[in-house]
């Protein structure tokens, strides 16, 4: 399951941000009449279609897996999380319908209707993410239920959707999707531009222009998201400090409770920074792992390492984006700036790695619970013996799907390079 989600999260991120790129490109084309933007919009529409098709399959597998692997969890939580899942289903259906209009309707509907269809695809993709992340937020910080002897005596699905983690997690995930995908697409085109530099200037000038445009549209989405992400990360960390102190302690591998706790980043210790970040008070007390019974500790090393990785990559992305933003504001072409292009190209996979790391932080950091403080993961898993077999089967399924996406996208990218 973890593995399936680990793959799905990447498919989903591209699926959320790609339609936005495609609509932006079409809008630029309608405004400027520059045919390159049209070419881009069509290219990205194809990418969206691939991701949507694979997302549909992988989403089906996931919804079945909930019952196949976690039957007891679903029996308990189904009435609570089913509602956001149902809403997600509708968002997905809407996306499917208007993606159909967008892909096959270039000549059939008015320009305005076509751009609107693309916008609806982008919005419903983001709405899908919203509902799914709400479920995850509820698992982290359950609300809207009263528990008695392992059963829910009252259930309020709407209150459950407004649990304390919802806002921070949803914002963080959406920004992650836009930043990761925007920078990944920009990175690919930056790499091509870099390779073409110094090549015969009388060569294929058109494709250079194509890659410039592509990179700039992708950056329009990626830069704001990457710049906002550290702020969102900071508010998320504060929410974790308040509602999931064990997770925070694991993220920082803080053993003893202390006042004025320092922040460790790649071996550098910043005094009092953790207290300051988590509670806005350099002398605030941060609870260490020792304050909690050992049987509710998550695995510390993976959570700590993943958190560091996420913060470092997020910071790098924000810095490079700030650099790119300043370059543009000074009316200089990013495409003429060799070092900036190289930095962008290097950061191509950074967003996705950071996303996976962040996902490890929130999921592994919640262990041993599947529903924070209510149900342990071990109680939720299917009683079927020999679980290694389905694990291997689902891993192979997702490796296969990843290969499908990779091969299809690669052939799409190759068409222009």
């Amino acid at each position: 399951m973890a593995l399936s989600l680990g793959f799905h999260i990447i498919f989903a991120e591209i699926g959320i941000a790609m339609p936005l790129l495609m609509v932006l490109a079409e809008w630029r084309w309608r405004r400027t009449g520059d045919a390159i933007y049209l070419q881009l919009a069509r290219r990205w529409a194809k990418g969206t279609a691939i991701l949507f098709a694979v997302g549909a399959v992988s989403g089906t597998v996931l919804s079945f897996e909930l019952g196949l692997l976690w039957p007891s969890f679903m029996r308990l939580a189904g009435p609570v999380i089913g509602i956001p899942f149902a809403l997600e289903g509708f968002a997905f259906f809407t996306e499917a319908i208007f993606l159909g209009v967008y892909l096959y309707g270039w000549k059939r509907v008015s320009p305005r209707a076509h751009v609107s269809a693309g916008l609806i695809v982008a919005v419903s993709g983001a709405a899908s993410a919203l509902f799914v992340v709400i479920v995850n937020a509820w698992m982290n910080t359950p609300a809207g239920v009263t528990v008695d002897a392992g059963r829910f005596t009252t259930v309020d699905p709407l209150a459950a959707m407004r649990n304390p983690s919802t806002f921070q997690q949803v914002v963080h995930m959406l920004l992650a999707a836009y930043a990761s995908t925007g920078l990944a697409v920009a990175g690919i085109h930056a790499a091509v531009l870099l390779k073409q530099r110094g090549a015969d200037p009388s060569g294929p000038r058109n494709t250079a222009l194509f890659h410039r445009h592509a990179m700039m549209v992708a950056l329009t989405v990626g830069i704001p998201a990457a710049l906002l992400q550290p702020i969102s990360g900071d508010t998320s960390a504060r929410a974790v400090a308040r509602w999931q102190p064990v997770k925070l302690a694991a993220m920082e591998s803080l053993l003893d409770t202390q006042r004025g706790a320092p922040l460790h980043l790649v071996g550098i210790e910043i005094p009092r920074a953790l207290s300051l970040l988590a509670f806005r008070d350099p002398d605030a007390e941060v609870q260490g792992l020792a304050a909690f019974p050992r049987d509710v500790w998550p695995p510390i090393a993976p959570v700590h390492v993943a958190f560091q990785l996420m913060v470092i990559l997020g910071t790098l992305m924000a810095l490079v984006c700030a650099w790119a933003a300043v370059t543009t504001l000074r009316r200089r072409e990013i495409a003429d700036h060799r070092r900036l292009l190289a930095a962008l190209a290097l950061l191509t996979p950074a967003g996705f790695i950071a996303t996976e790391a962040g996902w490890v932080v929130t999921e592994v950091g919640r262990q041993p619970w599947i529903i924070g403080g209510i149900m342990r993961t071990g109680e939720a898993v299917t009683p079927m013996p020999g679980l290694a077999v389905p694990m291997i089967v689902f891993t192979l399924i997702y490796l296969g799907l990843a290969a499908v996406v990779a091969i299809s996208i690669a052939s799409l990218v190759r068409e222009t390079t």
Partner: protein, 334 residues
């Protein structure tokens, strides 16, 4: 008495019906890909892919609706099915993934329009086979039996294999394959653009109708020993029986007389009636003979929200779907 749980169960049945009529026919198309023969073999395959490719995603969404409504409205039933039917459901999923990937590859892969091998066709046959077996073993009460044995002294095979790997479930499985193939063949006669192809699928449809009757007969014989509840219930619902028979004969007659649009309608009616016959036969049980619709239902507040959500969703989706259909009406063949 009709309350919220029954309404949700009704929605579930309607969604399942929609999936069987749309997604089921897609699977049936895959079966004909496997059996494509004669001089027009490649043209048959092209027709199959052309008529499935643009719509399979939307068709597929119905299955997701079924699953989500099931686990929201009836979490207990979902939990039992997910546990006892783990193996057939997993194999079904592999089938679904293979088919989905086949379409992605065909449309966007570097190999262009080449077929993606027999994987697609075999997956198309296996998925409905297992879907039918799952329904069959639910009807016999084997699923409920097995669920009670979990955690006890029962062996692995008693809980996780034998409920579905038995004669009656297998018969229902083959019945489902034949039925979907029949459905697909009648749809394809309408989609086909020339007489030769149309006739190919007409003959295939008639052959499939024969297979449907054969499988139904075998299943009915087995049903008397394996699933007394279903046998009695189905006979009790005489009206539905008669209507199903009427639709079946109508579909075959129309196919014989080359009235393809009538045949398509009658075939769809026949399949829907069979589905509802089964559902009515096992009412008020969701998983007979222990778990009723009411017992499995989620708390009322969840059910109310679910109904509300479904209503609002329908209000948004219905006009959207109509818009989609209107936009592409001219494209639709036939």
């Amino acid at each position: 008495m009709i309350g919220l749980p029954e309404i949700i169960a009704g929605v579930l049945a309607v969604a399942l019906n929609a999936y069987v009529l749309t997604g089921g026919a897609d699977f049936g198309g895959g079966v004909w890909d496997l059996f494509a023969t004669g001089v027009r073999r490649e043209r048959q395959r092209e027709l199959i892919v052309d008529s499935i490719a643009p719509i399979w995603e939307a068709n597929h969404v119905w299955l997701i609706v079924v699953v989500v409504v099931l686990f929201t409205g009836f979490p207990a039933a979902f939990s039992i099915l997910g546990t006892v039917m783990h193996i057939p459901l997993t194999i079904m999923l592999i089938g679904i993934v293979l088919r989905g990937s086949a379409f992605v590859f065909r449309s966007y892969g570097p190999y262009g329009q080449t077929r993606w091998g027999v994987a697609f066709a075999i997956a198309s046959a296996i998925t409905p086979l297992l879907l039918g077996s799952i329904i069959g073993s639910m009807a016999t009460g084997a699923v409920a039996d097995a669920a009670e044995k979990i955690g006890g002294a029962a062996t692995f095979s008693e809980v996780f294999v034998r409920p579905w790997a038995a004669a009656f479930p297998a018969a229902v499985g083959f019945f489902a394959v034949a039925l979907f193939a029949f459905l697909a063949a009648t749809y394809l006669t309408v989609d086909a653009q020339d007489e030769e192809l149309r006739d190919d699928f007409r003959i295939r449809g008639l052959a499939a109708a024969g297979a449907v009757f054969l499988c139904a007969a075998v299943a009915l014989v087995l049903a008397h020993s394996a699933a007394p509840r279903v046998a009695i219930g189905v006979v009790g619902a005489l009206l539905i029986q008669a209507a199903t028979a009427f639709a079946a004969i109508g579909a075959i007659a129309a196919l014989w007389l080359r009235r393809y649009r009538v045949a398509r309608l009658a075939a769809a009616a026949q399949v829907s009636l069979i589905l509802w016959g089964w559902l009515i036969a096992q009412y008020p049980y969701l998983i007979p003979p222990t778990l009723t619709i009411r017992d499995a239902a989620a708390p009322p507040v969840t059910l109310r929200l679910l109904v509300l959500g479904l209503a609002v969703g329908a209000v948004i989706l219905a006009p959207s779907l109509r818009y989609l259909m209107q936009t592409f009406k001219a494209r639709r063949p036939g």
